[in-house]
């Protein structure tokens, strides 16, 4: 009962949120919640690698940023009318751009994953971080697309005839994407692939012994995970109508990991819950003091030392 009740309550709250925020006179809360949902999507994407595949990636900011840049670059070309590399013209349609973002970040994840998955454990953590830094520096040096200033575009991408300027509309669009993504996650993870992945996480050698190509499955999980992060980046680019290398700063990767663990890695809704908790906490601490990180840091340490399993598992829910 509980298993269905909480998600439905949460969904109802989200559906009503823009009205509530307008009523209590702080429309800025709509954007805050949109941000939470987008980062929740990114954390949930990371969770496919982390929670279900057991791959601790400290480099997901790269895919998140690549997804965002796909939007920024495509939109800029659509506005200027110049084709990208003289070949493909840009687009201003959200659906097209999101597809591009997902495909491009998936390709990046395929390349980085193929190299990084040759290692495991701590080395995997360090290597994903190093590759993410490499992508970060690449975009920092990309003067044609703003370098460290980033790219700004005036209008959000178009979706049907919706008024995307309106923050509440964009809130619902984001919610739609989040729900679709979570649906895909649930499908994937209950499929044969998801079960095999769980087996690999628990005992890779045993899975190899029964004839599973574990490298390929982990690689697929990493790619899907990168695609989800790219989707989140695409939405974030649209929310702020701005992309910059800051999006792929390595601390973003760290925060995504925190969201997963805080909410409960290995659960479907946990990472989203974790994103809401972490961003909510950050926003609250930020109203108290500019130096909120000095409080957040020790809180994180305490969280790791004191309680394990995450928010989604409080109250005895099974992983």
């Amino acid at each position: 009962m509980r298993k269905i009740l909480f998600p439905i309550l949460g969904l109802a709250l989200l559906l009503a949120w823009p009205f509530v925020a307008e009523k209590i006179g702080s429309p800025a809360l709509i954007t805050l919640f949109t941000r939470m949902m987008i980062l929740g999507l990114a954390a949930s994407a990371l969770n496919i690698a982390l929670g279900f595949g057991g791959l601790v990636s400290l480099g997901h900011a790269a895919f998140y940023g690549i997804g965002a840049y796909a939007i920024g670059i495509s939109t800029t070309h659509a506005i200027s009318g110049e084709p990208f590399l003289g070949l493909v013209s840009g687009s201003n349609l959200l659906i097209v751009n999101v597809l591009v973002a997902v495909v491009v970040s998936g390709m990046a994840a395929a390349i980085i994953g193929a190299l990084a998955l040759r290692t495991s454990g701590i080395q995997f953590i360090m290597i994903t971080l190093a590759f993410a830094q490499m992508v970060f520096f690449l975009f920092l040096a990309l003067k044609a697309y703003g370098g460290d200033d980033g790219l700004t575009f005036r209008r959000r991408n178009a979706l049907f005839d919706l008024n995307m300027r309106d923050d509440a509309t964009f809130f619902y669009v984001t919610l739609g994407f989040l729900l679709v993504w979570l649906g895909i996650c649930a499908r994937v993870l209950h499929s044969r692939f998801g079960l095999l992945l769980g087996g690999i996480r628990q005992n890779e050698r045993r899975m190899q012994a029964i004839g599973v190509n574990t490298f390929r499955l982990k690689w697929f999980a990493f790619i899907i995970s990168g695609m989800g992060a790219g989707l989140a980046g695409a939405l974030m680019a649209n929310l702020g109508r701005f992309v910059s290398p800051d999006l792929m700063h390595w601390t973003t990767s760290g925060e995504l990991l925190i969201m997963c663990v805080l909410g409960g890695s290995g659960t479907i809704l946990g990472p989203v819950l974790g994103a809401f908790a972490l961003i909510g906490l950050e926003a609250t601490l930020n109203t108290w003091t500019e130096h909120w990180q000095a409080i957040l840091g020790p809180l994180l340490v305490l969280m790791v030392l004191a309680f394990r399993g995450g928010l989604a598992r409080i109250g005895g829910r099974k992983p």
Binding site: R118, A130, F137, G254, L300
Partner: protein, 303 residues
């Protein structure tokens, strides 16, 4: 030719700095199995403590022990309060807890010193350049190279030739056995962590006069250090040494020579932008290459 030699020396200088950091990181990993993201924070603490001491006393010689002591004590406190509880945990918990430590240290430094970078003067008796026969070279940088190489030699001696080093090596491979023989392994771990922190602080205080001392300086070099450790092989101090020199040389030469090479092919400004991008990515490409050939690094440790 002289330019090439000069840049090679610069590369070695960066290399020994990276080694000082990588040695601590790889020791802590090799012996305790802990990944410590906050290692860069100890470097930062060393740099700030030395800068503060130099400002208050006006003496660089007094700044050295101040930086070393601050980094080592901070390191041992961190080990005692946090890292000690992470030995039995998985790497994810270690990453998260040490990430929290980074946030804490960065904000505390901002609270104490503000966001403005601090510039430290090269001490007068080390400023100026010395003629190496072919070209003049800054004395300070030569001193860093000498100090780094001396530290490496001392570390080698400590690990290979002393009782403490023997316990460290034994603790890395046969933890329970060492414990069963009556060695206080917790104290040993605290000492090793403090030693790593001391080396990081040493790198930090030497870097002070070359780079500006600022918040975030630790993370920048930490990620380079990761590359070094991965290339050299996790847990291997010798690997950290050769890996650090390799990364230092590759990074410095790419930054120094690539722009000119690129200008041979394309317009000046474009070449500069592209060259700076590629040289920033260079060491990461090097790491990818090494991993393709030797997934465990050049000198795989026992860990």
């Amino acid at each position: 030719m002289t330019l090439v030699l000069e840049q090679l020396l610069n590369g070695v200088q960066l290399g020994v700095m990276l080694f000082l950091l990588a040695a601590g990181l790889t020791l802590v990993f090799g012996i305790m199995g802990v990944i410590n993201l906050a290692h860069g924070s100890l470097y930062m603490v060393g740099a700030y403590a030395a800068a503060l001491a130099a400002k208050m006393t006006g003496s660089f010689l007094l700044a050295i022990p101040a930086g070393l002591a601050a980094a080592a004590l901070t390191g041992m406190a961190v080990e005692y309060l946090v890292i000690r509880h992470l030995y039995a945990r998985d790497h994810l918990d270690q990453v998260l807890a040490t990430f929290g430590l980074i946030l804490f240290f960065n904000q505390m430094i901002i609270l104490l010193f503000g966001r403005q970078p601090i510039f430290v003067q090269i001490p007068p008796f080390l400023s100026g350049a010395i003629d190496l026969g072919l070209f003049p070279y800054p004395i300070y940088r030569l001193c860093i190279i000498a100090a780094g190489l001396l530290s490496a030699a001392a570390l080698y001696f400590l690990i290979q030739r002393t009782r403490l080093g023997m316990l460290v090596r034994a603790g890395a491979t046969h933890r329970e056995m060492v414990q069963a023989l009556g060695v206080d392994i917790r104290l040993l771990y605290t000492i090793v962590f403090g030693l790593g922190a001391l080396l990081a602080g040493f790198a930090g205080l030497m870097a002070g006069p070359l780079l500006s001392v600022q918040v975030g300086m630790g993370e920048q070099i930490l990620i380079m250090t990761f590359v070094v450790v991965v290339i050299g092989g996790l847990g291997s101090v010798a690997g950290a040494f050769w890996g650090a020199l390799l990364v230092g040389l590759v990074d410095t030469s790419l930054r120094a020579f690539l722009p000119q090479i690129m200008r041979g092919f394309m317009a000046g400004s474009e070449a500069d932008a592209l060259a700076s991008g590629i040289s920033a990515m260079g060491v990461y490409l090097l790491m990818a290459l090494v991993l393709l050939i030797k997934p465990k690094g050049l000198f795989p440790g026992h860990a």
